[in-house]
């Protein structure tokens, strides 16, 4: 649904479409060191995952989608339990 800055973290909530990739970049670049929380995210477009891979911010939260948890989370430097490493 949206990409927002909440309490110093960047939070992905619900489904995030391709057009939100730009917002995500802006927030990451504007808040160096901020955690990106994907624990509340639903279906997230490839473009956003690509942003996380390219800019490599710290990512936290346990993704709800088991596919993402199993195969993508490790590529983002996340532990399986969702804590940032």
């Amino acid at each position: 649904m949206s990409v927002l800055l909440k309490d110093g973290s960047i939070v992905l909530t619900g489904d995030c479409g391709v057009e939100e990739a730009e917002t995500l970049i802006g927030l990451i670049q504007g808040n160096p060191g901020a955690l990106v929380d994907v624990g509340e995210a639903g279906a997230v477009h490839t473009a956003l995952w690509q942003v996380l891979m390219a800019l490599a911010p710290k990512v936290t939260g346990e993704p709800r989608d088991p596919f993402i948890r199993r195969w993508i989370a490790p590529a983002l430097g996340m532990a399986a339990d969702g804590t940032a490493t």
């Binding site: 995500l24 473009a47 891979m53």
Partner: protein, 643 residues
Amino acid sequence: MDELLAQFIVEARELVQAAIDDLFVLEREPDNAGRLDSAFRAVHTLKGSTGLFDMAALQSALHRAEDSLGRARSGTAPLDPSQVDAIVAILEWVDTCVDDMERLGAVGQALLSQAAQLEADLRADSDEADTQPELAVRSIGWALALAEQVDTAPALALRYRPHPECFFNGDDPLALVARIPALVHLSVSPRQPWPEADGFDPYRSNLVFEALSDAPLADVEAIFRLVPDQVEIVPLGAAPGPDFDVPTVVPSDTTRSLRVDSARIDALLDAVGELMTTKNGLGGLIAVAAALPDGAELAREIAATQKDLDRLTGSLYGAVLQTRMVPLSQAFRRLPRMVHDLSRRLGKPTDLVIEGDAIEADKAIVDDMFEPLLHLVRNAMDHGIENPAERFAAGKPATSRLQLQAMRQGDQMLVRLSDDGRGINPEAIRRAAIDRGIVTEDQAAQLDDADAIDLLFAAGFSTAATLSDISGRGVGLDAVRSAILRVGGTVELASRPGIGTTMTMRLPVSFAMTQLMVVSVAGERYGVPMQSVSEAVRVKRDAITPIRDNRAFVLRNRTVPLLSLSSLLGFEEGTLSPDELTVLVLAVQDERIGIAVDGISERLEIITRPLGGLLTGVKGISGTTVLGDGRVLLVLDAAGLIQ
């Protein structure tokens, strides 16, 4: 059928074939300007002639193909393999459309609706051409390296490089990847190193997905069907799943290069056959004339006329057979497409080398040979040839070689299919044959290696540990052998473990047609060549005179010795008709001999073949033929019997 349409159908098929042949060469030699010109011309002509029949869908798809070839020809956009594939797909689709037109007079709606996708595939490919030259390299090394990432043996490897602009088309690559069933490995990496943060464009995809899965190929292909140009899927040959997509090649039953409807030739051949039967009737007339008082002169003249007729019908028959001769390339030409397709589906890169396809043989033999040959090729690809990993391990080149050679030998031809695969282990065949109850252990132990390998042709034999749909389930080489036997040929197999397997088919180049009279004796049926039968008569038992150990009867004032077929063949003499005997009067050299049989059934015009195997050298039998119902009929050699 409208004559213009009939002409179009013949031409369209030739043009499709010619263009595909050219494209396959271009795939390997992209710089072959001659082939490029020739493919362009064929597609151009084909497009032009579809215009005559108001077939907008065909015309538009061909126009697209012509465009791509034209661009390649002018040097502005070279052809890459995926474009070649897309053009071949269009041409094969046109071929199917032509089949529909021939069969139904129009192209089916379902088929027509495929046009848009085919065109789209080609368009996507051309857009792709300059940005992704690396796709042109069809190496499978990456797939083998990827497979080493896991301990199991996955069914397939997949590499998906989404197009950089794909987000604009609404693609969500990760969503596609997430749909791959039975995923056992996935890695995501950047296509190009990630740029500095400020140079990073979030709307260009820069990802490569590499995955291993145990799912059936067809299921995975279905997921990526809209992005076929961005994905490479390599079956690793471990375990083809139940839904393994079998490429079907429909055996062609139409002769394509004969401009005369082959039914007309067949009618002509039938007429020649009847002419020969009628001509045989002269034999009886000679006998009648000879029996007349002072008839000797007349009999001689009839005999002389018969001789002339013999010569003329013989040469007429030969001439008709000649019109039925077609080059073997008619049976061979679909094979490169099939091997090309199979080698990709099985993940076994294979070069098919064809030699001697200009040799000619009777159309029926060439047609009938196609299906068994297809089966042998599938067999070789599926079972004989190893997958690249196995080949590497055995120190062989990754690309295997399948060689198809034809040679003429007298009135026969040899068609030989050799692969450089793993060969056949005779010991494994012996064990399997015992397991399947085809032979006992003692019998198996006595077989030499060649005979053991020959067990593969036994009914119900299949050695592959996993049956696959490529070469069928259980109906294997026995079907091949019986198909070859039906046209009067033989098929043999030779193999060297680790080196390869060779299948040799020996086939007649043309048919020897024989008129047979079918007789029965002791419950069995035999064929007697009509040319040795002068007539059939009924003889009353009391009209038979014993002469020493023999018997005779009188026919038109001449004494004719009488033999019984049962005793000649070593049966008890039958007592079916106690009062009357059915007797065939055979003219052997100048002698007339009566042969008593139990009954006479039909006359046949059939193809006989010389004896082979156990029956070689059996006296009194000249050959065998397979009847329509599959039974074998022994053909008697009258002269041999009587001596």
